[in-house]
């Protein structure tokens, strides 16, 4: 896997040629779209309500496009001027289309979304009806130096495949830790942030989550498809609510479906990954050991289950598992 982060600063790597390549690659577009959809899902925004979203490292506005389709208004910032120019072109095009008659391809995508997302049905229809175009605004900025917004501005924040750029210090002054902690404090109370990134090693993932905890975020890293090298995605899901627990990542078969679905239309949505449900059941640790008492049956079953998951030899559960012993004298 090639890592452009190693070659230098993002503004140098994404020059005009790279930006154009990035934007016209249908593979990139597909992946970015998939990730953004998932990020929006993880954000759990109040449905049927447009939100004001910050997109850090928006690049050529691919993620912003998805946000628009969901009816949100966004502000994007990126360090590469050429990428921003691409995004600007896209916004201009969109505006011209909106000025003229409704574009048929756009209508199609709207319909697809309605099929996928029944709860949002009315909302999307109303958007389609009024020919709403709420293109984002762009900002040329380096996220490593802290974001230029006043506190409590945004309903949510997303960042797609950008955070890894902060992990490298290309010059002496750029201390990765400092750069990572710099971007924070800009969200409304109760807002969530979903930041998708590609860590080079587990140390990077730990470094990033440590920085987030230092700033005062609760949350964690959600890993989708941990068993697949290709479809594996890391999402740093953050919230200011102390009790907030990061939802479960996606696993198993869906990874394969994801790859197939991408080449087809719109991507396949699998029923069994409703984030609301995943977050609803808070994963509590094993019950605490009672004073003087032994280990409870639930504790034993839980422990056996974890051992089994690790692939260790474990006795199967029977009616004798964790049974009471007779008192000894």
């Amino acid at each position: 896997m090639s890592r452009p982060e190693l070659t230098g600063h993002a503004s140098l790597f994404y020059n005009e040629k790279e930006a154009r390549k990035y934007d016209s690659s249908s593979r990139m577009v597909g992946i970015q779209r998939e990730i953004t959809e998932r990020a929006i899902e993880l954000l759990k925004l109040p449905s049927n309500r447009p939100s004001f979203i910050l997109d850090v490292g928006c690049g050529s506005g691919l993620s912003g496009q998805v946000l628009e389709e969901h009816g949100h208004v966004w502000v994007g910032c990126d360090v590469s001027r050429d990428m921003l120019n691409m995004a600007n072109e896209r916004i201009e095009r969109k505006r011209e289309e909106a000025m003229g008659e409704g574009d048929s391809s756009e209508d199609d995508s709207d319909n697809d979304m309605n099929d996928n997302n029944d709860s949002n049905n009315d909302f999307n229809n109303s958007k389609g009806g009024t020919e709403e175009s709420s293109p984002g605004d762009l900002l040329h900025h380096d996220m490593g130096t802290g974001l230029p917004f006043r506190p409590a501005s945004f309903d949510a924040c997303i960042s797609i495949s950008a955070l890894q750029w902060l992990c490298y210090s290309n010059t002496k002054e750029q201390i990765p830790k400092k750069r990572l902690t710099a971007s924070s404090h800009h969200y409304t109370k109760g807002a969530r942030a979903v930041l998708q990134f590609y860590p080079e090693s587990s140390e990077h993932a730990i470094l990033i989550s440590e920085c987030a905890a230092k700033v005062g975020f609760a949350g964690g890293i959600v890993v989708d498809y941990p068993n697949s090298t290709k479809a594996k995605k890391h999402y740093l899901v953050l919230s200011f609510e102390r009790s907030y627990k990061a939802p479960q990542g996606l696993t198993g078969l869906e990874g394969a479906l994801l790859n197939e679905g991408r080449s087809g239309s719109g991507g396949v949505r699998v029923a069994d990954k409703d984030p609301r449900r995943a977050a609803g059941k808070k994963s509590r640790g094993p019950p605490r050991k009672k004073k003087g008492g032994g280990k409870t049956k639930e504790w034993i079953l839980h422990k056996k289950e974890t051992q089994r998951k690790k692939g260790k030899d474990t006795r199967k559960d029977t009616k004798f598992t964790g049974r009471k012993r007779p008192m000894r004298f």
Binding site: R49, P50, S51, F52, V73, V75, C77, V79, R81, L84, N85, N88, R95, T130, E131, E132, S133, S134, D137, L138, L139, H140, H141, D142, T145, G146, L147, P148, F149, R150, A152, S153, F154, D155, E173, T188
Partner: protein, 133 residues
């Protein structure tokens, strides 16, 4: 850049205390109408700094071909329930000001340090030099 974005922008040059609101120096301006999204506007209003918005409109309006709608000097927009009672004319005025006016070329000036941030093709450049971080 729309005034919506300007309303949230803040200078973070080293040595600034507040860095808000940024003063606008206009070279070119653009006005493009868009449909009013009342729901979103009402969601957004409590977060908007109204005084900064009025100040920004004052700096922008002399350069605009079409006169910008007049906003009342002071208004309390922080209460979401109160905002529900706003009449349609005020809402459409607010929408026009926030969403339809674009600063195409110009400068944003930090009120504390006087640092000028250039705006080109609607994109403000907020990148700081190494000694300003």
């Amino acid at each position: 850049m729309r005034l919506l974005t300007h309303n949230f922008l803040q200078s973070n040059v080293r040595g600034t205390e507040k860095g808000y609101p940024l003063n606008i120096e206009v070279t070119t301006i653009k006005y493009e109408e868009s449909p009013v999204d009342k729901e979103f506007l009402l969601n957004l209003l409590p977060k908007v700094n109204y005084n900064a918005l009025v100040a920004a409109v004052k700096q922008m309006s002399p350069h605009c071909e079409q006169p910008l709608p007049e906003l009342p000097e002071t208004m309390d927009v922080s209460n979401a329930e109160q905002n529900q009672n706003l009449d349609d004319a005020t809402i459409s005025n607010l929408h026009k000001v926030l969403f339809d006016v674009y600063l195409v070329e110009g400068w944003l000036i930090c009120p504390d340090t006087g640092r000028k941030f250039p705006v080109k093709e609607c994109i403000p450049n907020m990148i700081l030099h190494e000694d300003e971080i």
